[in-house]
């Protein structure tokens, strides 16, 4: 697996193609450029809650009402949002589309110590929830967004791409 991060502008173009209406996102250092691109985007409404548990519940409400939200959520936020994801996504089979920032991936795969525990538990956590995942590590992987989107629709269940690097412009 190679990659050094996807382009924020190309990612947003792909989200347009897939018909996303809203992005729920709390900024973090790796996704900062994606946040700025969405903040300035006229087609996708950006909602910035205070914590990720809110994001999940708001997204479930948006989807139930007929819209198409994307959750952009760092792995640390994913861990905070566990009960909300269980209750508003996994349990009621709401097809939440997620982009999970894999904090710690770059350092861990480069052999740097100490290993960030957020890195260690990200994939096992998603697997425990039986959420299918794809890795979005560069522009070459932008097609994984479509796979994630289709899978969520077909299974009526959450699906996620995991981003291991910070976004480029």
């Amino acid at each position: 697996m190679s990659g050094n991060g996807a382009s924020a502008s190309k990612t947003v173009r792909k989200l347009h193609e897939l018909g996303f209406t809203h992005a729920l996102m709390i900024p973090d250092s790796e996704s900062r450029l994606l946040y700025e691109a969405l903040e300035n985007d006229p087609e996708i409404d950006l909602i910035t809650p205070c914590r990720e548990g809110e994001s999940v519940a708001i997204a479930a409400g948006l989807w139930t009402g007929g819209l198409k939200p994307l959750l952009v959520i760092q792995n640390t936020g994913l861990m905070e949002a566990g009960d909300s994801l269980r209750g508003c996504g996994v349990g009621p089979k709401v097809p939440l589309r997620m982009m999970v920032g894999w904090r710690g991936y770059g350092g861990a795969t480069a052999g740097k110590l100490p290993i960030d525990s957020a890195y260690t538990f990200t994939e096992p956590l998603l697997q425990a929830w039986r959420i299918p995942t794809w890795r979005l590590m560069s522009d070459d992987d932008l097609g994984t967004l479509e796979l994630m989107d289709q899978t969520a629709a077909e299974t009526s269940y959450p699906a996620a791409v995991i981003t291991g690097y910070g976004f480029k412009p």
């Binding site: 909602i47 809650p49 708001i58 009621p92």
Partner: protein
């Protein structure tokens, strides 16, 4: 103080096409006065997040009001939600905060006694806030005052955050254990969402 069932009856009598999201003890008693596919039982969907779910619904369905019956213990589980509501809530969201100062559903344990939910909402920017800057925060202490205010609350632009101190003399019915995915499907069908 207002007896909770009287509150529910007052809203049920006035209610037309509004979505009603409820959680905790409201899920036990609201169905005694309302049988509608636009009622949504949020119990066990995510502790503390009923109003967040209602926010998403209200944004998605601007043609009708979304009412949330929210508990005071629940609001303490996600206080940040107040700030998010104060920033994004659209004009059609009504949050009725049922203030009984206890975790009634699990035994009536006391809430932090000095927490002031009106002031918390105001300090979060709700008054004059929301997506269109029309947010309103009120405390209504008596049934008659609530009945007088209800036609206005259900028609004027909000969002509204209404604190309602309540008592309950009624025996609580059992918990609804219906399928969670089915609850979502029923609401989407009622909203004509494919």
């Amino acid at each position: 103080m207002i007896e909770r069932m009287e509150l529910f009856r007052a809203v049920a009598e006035r209610r037309t096409n509004e979505i009603v999201v409820m959680t905790m003890t409201a899920t036990l008693q609201w169905p005694l006065v309302s049988k509608s596919d636009l009622d949504f039982d949020f119990l066990a969907f995510g502790m503390g997040h009923a109003a967040d779910f209602g926010l998403g619904l209200a944004i998605a369905r601007p043609e009708r009001k979304t009412i949330v019956w929210k508990g005071d213990g629940g609001i303490l589980m996600s206080l940040g939600s107040l700030v998010t509501l104060a920033r994004y809530a659209p004009e059609n969201l009504v949050v009725f905060l049922l203030e009984n100062r206890s975790y009634e559903m699990v035994g009536g344990q006391e809430l932090p006694p000095r927490a002031d939910f009106v002031e918390l909402a105001r300090a979060s920017g709700f008054e004059g806030g929301g997506a269109a800057g029309k947010g309103k925060v009120e405390r209504i202490d008596a049934l008659e005052a609530f009945q007088d205010a209800l036609p206005r609350i259900l028609t004027e632009a909000g969002p509204h955050f209404i604190v309602l101190p309540v008592t309950n003399r009624e025996k609580l019915p059992p918990v609804n254990h219906s399928d969670h995915a089915g609850r979502i499907r029923t609401l989407r069908k009622a909203l004509n969402v494919s």
